[in-house]
Symmetry: C2
Subunit: 75 residues, 2 copies
Amino acid sequence: MGQGVHVQELPGIGKRYDIDLGRADQRVSVVVRSGGVRDLYVFTSTSADPTAVIELSEEQARKVGAVLSATFFEA
Amino acid sequence: MGQGVHVQELPGIGKRYDIDLGRADQRVSVVVRSGGVRDLYVFTSTSADPTAVIELSEEQARKVGAVLSATFFEA
């Protein structure tokens, strides 16, 4: 997945992707479960507990991913 | 951006994308600023206040987007 993404196998569950945002108080982790469901963990402090956790179906995750990835500037 | 994504112009700022997750207590909004920076808002309650807000550079947003969008199953 390139630099700044740490991948960890979660046996029986799926894979966990930790995305480095270059700051101790901002982290995003995504658990991709074998069935396709994604759990999005957002950390906005140095705590090990996530600030927000959201469960996304594969389709929903693609939608969020598309908005985040896209470069569509009309201005 | 397809179904389930509501786009709103924010004059002088950029665009706001509200992604419908089919639940009142789970919402994701992304503000794409004209310069490329993305603000990711995650709501895990019916409150109008986000549970977590995270600021991503264009590159960071692409990384998170790639992990969310990708379908890479090896199992």
